[in-house]
Amino acid sequence: MSAIWIAVIGASLTAFLNKYIGHSVPEQWLNKPRVIKINAFVPIVLLSALVAVQTFATEKELLIDQRAAGVAVALIALKFKASFPVVVLSAALTSAAVYNWF
């Protein structure tokens, strides 16, 4: 089995376990102030790190290219409260323009 299939099936199983456990365990097991507080930061750190890597990394090398321009425009769009499709499209258009014309 390829690594991608292992990731697809493995992550699907643990995702379901996460969901099912919540429905099945006594509330006091997970409902602890510390767990809740750490959990609030988990998506922020993981997703921020993902954005950074996807924007600036090509394998192990860091570089600034058309992706950074696209993401910068996405951040500006978010700052101006643009909707999700506008954010994604404006990033794609900017990146494509920089890639194709420079």
Binding site: A3, I4, W5, I6, A7, V8, I9, G10, A11, S12, T14, A15, N18, K19, Y20, I21, G22, H23, S24, V25, L30, N31, K37, I38, N39, A40, F41, V42, P43, I44, V45, L46, L47, S48, A49, L50, V51, A52, V53, Q54, T55, F56, A57, K60, L62, Q66, R67, G70, V71, L78, F84, P85, V87, V88, A91, A92, T94, S95, A96, N100
Partner: protein, 220 residues
């Protein structure tokens, strides 16, 4: 149960959330194919994993050449919030057996959010199920269309897809940055990931930021 968005405000909220969120599925479908997943593999993630941020993490990490184990670990940590949603929903839904399995699968940000907006348990259940099933249908439909569209395109950079994926992540993080601490934590995580990128295997710079979440979470 009959659904009537014209007269029932819960149905209206649920369906509009389901459709809007479902549209993001197209971005995920495109991201999957851009990362080197087949259309089938991309669609399997939406059908089986069914949790947006975790799905994007899996394709993002595998696409960057990361190991399956770091994709699985990152997706699992991102999905832990669904366990907390399950805790909230269980006493309201009161289901067991196969019904609990199905309810668990649709326990996500959106279904829980719409449910918790309601005034009583009957409405909460209605909001939960219509939103959950609605997002499931639209998310999977648009994942397929997005994957199909992206596989028709050759080089993803020509169409800006290489920036569309991190931009989609920005859209997922933005609503979570509610105060100064959140911005600081986000910035530190970015610096950490970039610092580790040249010196560690792909996936490690991302998963290890959980250490930062623990440090900031335990801090007063």
């Amino acid at each position: 149960m009959s659904i009537n968005p014209k007269t029932n405000p819960i149905d209206r909220t649920a369906l509009s959330v389901a459709f809007t969120v479902g549209l993001y599925g197209a971005a995920f479908g495109a991201a999957g194919v851009t990362a080197g997943f087949s259309i089938l593999q991309t669609c399997m993630l939406s059908l089986l994993l069914f949790s947006g941020a975790s799905q994007f993490a899996v394709v993002g990490i595998m696409g960057a050449g990361g190991a399956a184990i770091s994709a699985i670990a990152t997706a699992t940590l991102l999905g832990f919030r669904n366990a907390l949603y399950g805790l909230q929903m269980a006493p309201i839904l009161k289901v067991s057996g196969i019904k609990r399995v199905l309810a668990a699968q649709i326990t996500i940000d959106e279904s829980t959010a719409v449910a918790t907006l309601q005034e009583n348990d009957a409405d909460r259940r209605r909001g939960f199920y219509i939103t959950g099933v609605g997002v499931y249908i639209f998310w999977n439909l648009f994942t397929f269309l997005g994957a199909l569209g992206a596989s028709a395109i050759g080089d993803p950079s020509v169409w800006g897809l290489d920036a569309a994926v991190p931009a989609a992540f920005c859209g997922l993080i933005w609503p979570r940055l509610k105060n100064k601490t959140h911005f600081i934590v986000s910035t530190v995580a970015i610096a950490w990931a970039l610092a580790l990128t040249p010196i560690s295997p792909a996936g490690i710079p991302i998963i290890t930021t959980v250490i930062l979440a623990v440090i900031f979470g335990l801090k007063k």
